[in-house]
């Protein structure tokens, strides 16, 4: 994408967005609600033309060469949009026909995918009888039926059961090893951290950061933390921890305390001293570097509550 902007009347959904994704890369796209993630996907898939700038997929302009560009893609929408009144098999056949896959190829490919996603035994059942996880797996299988070089995955594992999650993550890993480019938007920041080679964070229609997860974490070393659990603690313990030098914030997380700092060694020494002074023992103590979630929160300016991010798209 080069200098791409998209406006809806007075509303500017995307402003001068530019990035490149290499072939075979797993690319994560994160951003809060209304940041422009869906608009970006709609532009990249040729559904919605950009107001300014250009977007190309494997050298094909998505506005002028829409059909050819789409042939290279598999698109898995956020909603599991398989046809409830068609069987799993017919859903696969319909998707393949839309992509112009020949009969012999589509039947072979559909069988492979339904087996891969654990749906082969249920292939003749209507999709309306599938569980949420099965429907999600079917939707992803439909997105892969044309053997795409680029797969758009919008929230692939959101709200799914453990089995579906594991299958989908394995498939993403396999695709990546087969040099299929994966463009992943997700609520699950840890999923992006584990699955993606690079991550872009979009906020208010602009790219706030784009880099590998580890490099992004390296940009905010000030949010390292020390997690400590005492054998006994009281309501006053958190106030005592807040008075320690080099501690910027203290948060109670279950039976543990998390102390944010840019100098973990100094804080560890101070915590030991405090435990001695209070006559208690330290049960566990761990240090953490910044998480991708911390980067996300810092760059998007979101509030972090006791249990994580408040609103993330």
């Amino acid at each position: 994408m080069k200098h791409l902007s998209k406006s809806f009347g007075e509303i500017r959904a995307l402003s001068d967005v530019s990035f490149e994704v290499s072939e075979g890369e797993a690319f994560g796209f994160l951003g809060p609600n209304g940041a422009g993630k869906t608009t970006t996907i709609r532009v990249l898939t040729g559904i919605s033309p950009p107001t300014e700038g250009e977007a190309k997929v494997f050298g094909l302009d998505v506005v002028r060469e829409t059909i050819a560009a789409r042939r290279t893609m598999g698109i898995v929408a956020e909603t599991s949009n398989a046809y409830d009144d068609l069987s799993g098999w017919r859903n696969m056949m319909f998707s393949a026909e839309l992509y112009g896959v020949s009969r012999s190829t589509r039947e072979k490919r559909a069988q492979e995918l339904l087996e891969l996603f654990g749906l082969w035994e249920r292939r003749d059942d209507k999709a309306r009888t599938y569980s949420k996880g099965m429907k999600r797996r079917l939707t992803i299988a439909m997105g892969l039926v044309n053997d795409p070089r680029l797969l758009f995955l919008d929230e692939p594992t959101s709200g799914l059961d453990v089995q579906s999650n594991l299958i989908i993550r394995d498939v993403i890993r396999d695709l990546n090893s087969q040099k299929v480019t994966v463009f992943l938007t997700t609520h699950n920041i840890e999923e992006a951290n584990l699955s993606c080679d690079r991550v872009a964070i979009i906020n208010k229609g602009r790219i706030a950061a784009i880099d590998s997860p580890e490099r992004l974490k390296g940009t905010i070393q000030s949010v390292q933390s020390v997690e400590v659990a005492f054998e006994s603690s009281s309501a006053a313990t958190i106030d005592s921890l807040r008075t320690l030098a080099k501690v910027s914030e203290v948060r109670k997380e279950g039976d543990k305390f998390r102390l944010f700092t840019d100098d973990p060694p100094t804080v560890i020494e101070a915590v030991y001293s405090l435990a001695g002074a209070k006559g208690t023992r330290i049960v566990s103590l761990n240090t953490y570097g910044p998480s991708l979630e911390d980067v996300f929160i810092k760059l998007t300016g979101l509030e972090k509550h006791a249990k994580g991010v408040s609103t993330v798209d």
Binding site: G46, I47, S48, Y83, L86, G100
Partner: protein, 252 residues
């Protein structure tokens, strides 16, 4: 054998359009609201106007065919498209590697084929029960096919209205569909329509379709049959082009 790129694309588009039509057939043809709108509604509408008529029942067959086409061919898309918008399956069609031409063609095709299947009933009823022979089979086939496709295209055009409620589309469509019955010669002979209103009949595609269909039975036409065919093709082109534009606008 490798096809030239343009021909290859055309064949691919046709196949995609056919795939969309097949999908609609499996999902929507047997829905109760489609059956009511496409089969029972025209039948009872026809009975309401023809019972007590002094004409023989067989003479009413062209009118019954025309009404059946009008209601059946336009009944699929106003239901299927809003439902698919709601379930987000319509996004699947919009993001597929097929043009909007193929999408609109496929949707129209499903209405067209539905009306073929439904209209077989009054056709054979006329032939076998009321002994109503067809004098010009070619005129009947052309009139029937073009009328079905033009009405199916009209239904596809109205379904472009960006709503997730089939009722919204049906309400708007009925504003056009119901008056069409009365200005197309189906219930009131075209020659009997008073002069100030006479010009309106030429704005209804059903006028030309009904003229061809009834001529295949009676042998007489109100309009030149060639003009009937040309006008039906013009209406098909207008509805298809407008539908493509509206779907494009609503998808942005």
């Amino acid at each position: 054998m490798t096809r030239p790129p343009l021909l290859g694309q055309f064949v691919t588009e046709l196949r995609a359009g056919w795939a969309i039509a097949k999908k609609d057939m499996v999902i929507y043809y047997v829905r109760p609201n489609i059956i009511v709108t496409g089969l029972l509604f025209p039948l009872f509408m026809f009975l309401a106007f023809s019972v007590g008529n002094t004409q023989s029942p067989g003479a009413e067959i062209p009118g019954l065919l025309a009404i059946t086409i009008l209601f059946s061919a336009s009944s699929i898309m106003p239901v299927s498209v809003p439902i698919e918008r709601r379930t987000k399956t319509f996004d699947r069609l919009l993001s597929a590697p097929v043009s909007l031409n193929a999408l609109v063609f496929g949707e129209s095709m499903s209405g067209f084929l539905f009306s073929l299947a439904i209209a077989i009933v009054p056709f054979f009823a006329g032939l076998l029960i009321f002994n109503t022979p067809v004098n010009h089979a070619v005129a009947l086939v052309i009139g029937f096919a073009l009328s079905s496709f033009v009405v199916a295209s009209l239904g596809t055009l109205f379904a472009a209205y960006p709503t997730e409620s089939p009722g919204d589309v049906m309400s708007m469509l009925n504003v056009v569909r119901l008056p069409m019955m009365f200005i197309s010669g189906v219930f009131i002979p075209l020659a009997s329509i008073p002069e100030p209103w006479h010009a309106i009949i030429y704005f209804s595609p059903l006028t030309y379709g009904y003229d061809l269909i009834q001529s295949s039975y009676s042998g007489t036409t109100h309009i030149d049959p060639v003009l009937d065919v040309i006008m039906l093709l013009v209406f098909i082109a207008i509805f298809q082009v407008l539908a493509i534009r509206l779907y494009k606008r609503s998808s942005v």
